[in-house]
Amino acid sequence: MIVKELAEQLELKVLAGEEGLDREIKGGYCGDLLSEVMAKAPEGCVWLTVQGHQNIMAVAVLRDMSAVILVGGHSPDEDTKQKADKEGIPILLWPGSAFDLAGRIYAGLA
């Protein structure tokens, strides 16, 4: 599945990094401690987090993620959006909990 399909299926709002909407999703990861995510998130994953600081895009690039999804109604800082556009990694928004979204994505990928 590519990011665009996921966004359409689950009605996720695409906020930045539209150029990366054709990235292939190879898995998922949930976490808000960036040090931990940086160490453990698998390549090509979609990452579910509440963090909106610009460092999330550096972590996303480092792990070659397919997209970052801000859950729980959180939104990214302005410079985070600019980085997402520059790197071509989409930032998507989900108003509900990470648990709910992770379940749906997992079911879709399985």
Binding site: L34, S35, Q51, Q54, N55, A58
Partner: protein, 244 residues
């Protein structure tokens, strides 16, 4: 004339919910004197309401006390803001209070006691001081600098509430004056054990919550007068000021 000042820039008082009552403003300053400290900063969680009492005790006991606070950013990273005078610290506190949601529940988090310089209880702070502000870390650094304060990231070696644990690494464009390494790691191991500190100037301090903790780690500054501005110069290694 330049002189060495033994300095502990991160001490809590009984205002912090996790702080012991023996950490009254008076108790903190007297213990600091007994431990041979010349300069301390009183940095309670998200508040400076015990700092002025400590400053008054400091005037009598010969310990220079800076008013400060340990602010929790919305990313849950702790960062010290240290000032030269209570007016500036109070302006910072106002900014923090405007962005600090929640009420304390002392049965879960502990009491938040405001005391004067005579160990008399003036009241309790009912804000959720242990909580996180809604401020981004760069907003805290900017406001601290706009008020002339020192901005130092707390215990960057720790697995929680440190800027490296929360943000993965220190944003290279964040204009911190320095970073604090906890007492747990000896200075000779800092670079190896905490590679994320990069070229940031490093200090160590006690992060004391109990009297015996005070001074367990300290930084010696070679400076002219005890002021945050002189410490800023020492952190930059400017004008002959330095960390010893």
């Amino acid at each position: 004339m330049l002189k060495q000042y033994h300095t502990d820039l991160h001490i809590h008082t009984c205002l912090s919910p996790c702080g012991d009552w023996e950490m009254s403003p008076r108790g903190v300053v007297e213990m600091s004197r007994d431990k041979g400290l010349d300069i301390i900063a009183v940095c309670d969680h998200n508040s400076m309401e015990n700092a002025e009492a400590a400053m008054r005790v400091g005037e009598k006991t010969g310990v220079c006390v800076f008013p400060g606070m340990e602010i929790c950013s919305r990313e849950e990273a702790h960062i010290l803001a240290i000032f030269s005078d209570p007016e500036r610290a109070r302006a910072m506190q106002e900014y923090v209070y405007d962005h600090l949601p929640g009420e304390n529940r002392s049965e879960y988090f502990g009491n938040q006691i405001i005391a004067n310089e005579y160990d008399e209880v003036l009241g309790e702070n009912d804000r959720l001081l242990i909580g996180a502000t809604t401020l981004a870390i760069h907003e805290i650094v900017e406001k601290t600098h706009a008020l002339g304060g020192l901005s130092i990231a707390s215990h960057v070696d720790r697995p929680a509430f440190g800027i490296i644990s929360q943000l993965g690494f220190i944003p290279p464009d964040l204009p911190l004056d320095g970073v604090e390494i906890s007492y747990r790691i000896p200075p000779e191991d800092w670079q190896e054990k905490v590679p994320g500190i990069g070229d940031f100037p490093c200090i160590t301090s006690s992060d004391a919550h109990y009297p015996d903790d005070i001074g367990r780690a300290r930084t010696v500054f070679l400076i002219d007068t005890p002021s945050p501005e002189e410490i800023r110069l020492a952190l930059q290694g400017a004008k002959g000021r330095e960390i010893v």
